[in-house]
């Protein structure tokens, strides 16, 4: 890659550093590991840069961060319990059970952090991309290589599980 190309790479992708770190941080749940994942992702991105022909650079980079993050999870073995998480089994039948308003108003930042960290990784990342990064369904689908229908159902389930986790924490404290 010539210097001009390298500059173009940096101009295109360095501005997404925080988005990359935020996603990696939520995937790995560790600052140091997230930094390693981000570095690995940028090194992969520069190798793949020849295949990038404009378009959504943030989604493009985040898809690489996500892959690097999953590789890290796989290596760290911390993934064991969440990878077998079966979406079908955890499909809650009763759709009316959203999070209880009162609980949400009482929830502290610490409660929300803990509840979000406790989510299985597939749901955590979808919710983080939607609520913290503000990505559209289509962008989340691009990042995850998923059909939009899967994005929608993961979001719905993520919110429902989050509500359950919060209410369990809420009742424990009472």
């Amino acid at each position: 890659m010539d210097p001009a190309e390298l500059k173009r790479f940096e101009r295109t992708f360095l501005p997404h550093m925080s988005a990359a770190y935020n996603l990696a941080r939520w995937l790995t749940r560790s600052d140091q590991d997230a930094q390693d994942v981000v570095q690995e992702a940028y090194l992969r991105a520069v190798r793949f840069f020849g295949g990038f022909r404009g378009g959504n650079s943030k989604a493009w980079l985040l898809s690489i961060v996500r892959n690097a993050g999953y590789t890290w999870l796989q290596r760290s073995q911390a993934h064991g319990t969440t990878v077998s998480f079966d979406e079908q089994l955890h499909d809650v039948e009763d759709r009316s059970q959203g999070p209880e308003m009162e609980l949400l108003q009482r929830a502290t930042r610490q409660d929300l952090l803990a509840a979000l960290e406790a989510l299985p990784v597939e749901f955590r990342e979808t919710l983080v991309l939607r609520e913290l990064e503000g990505l559209s369904y289509k962008e989340i689908a691009e990042v995850g290589g998923l059909p939009i229908g899967t994005v929608m159902s993961r979001l719905a389930r993520a919110r429902r599980i989050l509500g359950q986790v919060l209410s369990e924490r809420g009742t424990k404290e009472d």
Partner: protein, 250 residues
Amino acid sequence: MACPEKSDLIEAYADGELDLGSSLEIERHLADCKDCAAVLEGHRALRSALGTASLYHDAPAQLSSRVRAAVRKQEKVFAASPFFGWRWLAVAAPVISLVILGWSLVTVSRMPSSEDLLNQEIVSAHVRSLMAAHLTDFPSSDQHTVKPAFNGRIDFSPEVKDLASEGFALIGGRLDYLDRRPVAALIYQRRKHLINLFIYPAEDGAGERAVETSLRGYNLIRWTRAGMRYAAVSDLNLVELRSFQQALQE
């Protein structure tokens, strides 16, 4: 009780993902349906709680310079080669831009995410299995021994076929990890060539044509059949690998 009629769409509405017509329809519905109104209120409360709790992790200050240095260091290795230096490029630029223009007319910008990385992952798993005596967890040429060996180790039951009569000898099975999940690996042999056949359930059940790739000197065929994903990878030539795939399908 959830409203059976619209509850699927309430979230998409709350996320601003519906077109104008559908949004108006949902708004009319919300005026009459208490269930849906409650669901919407719940979502809004959750979103505002998540939004105001400052859960966003900003990148540490030094990360940007660290990443920049790593990228430049890696790039130096390539840039040092005279053929890839920019001087050479300046001379050849007009030719190259024509080539690139022609190329970009027939290709679209692609995410390297799922497809490319999965292919790389499959080849890496294959190479790893050849390197360190990790080829088989349970060596056996008997399909009736290999199949039960997976029981309790993975949450699905892969079909194990005996293809000896077609010239592909089964030599064992192994647990591996691909596409973010545990998968079954069956190992077949043809002459000196080993074939890894990876099997795991298809998440979305979508039909998919067989995809053939060649990567780092290995041939790779992926396909989906009856709700399962298959990937066969080997240094065997593509024609014979295709006949292996064919034999499996019969």
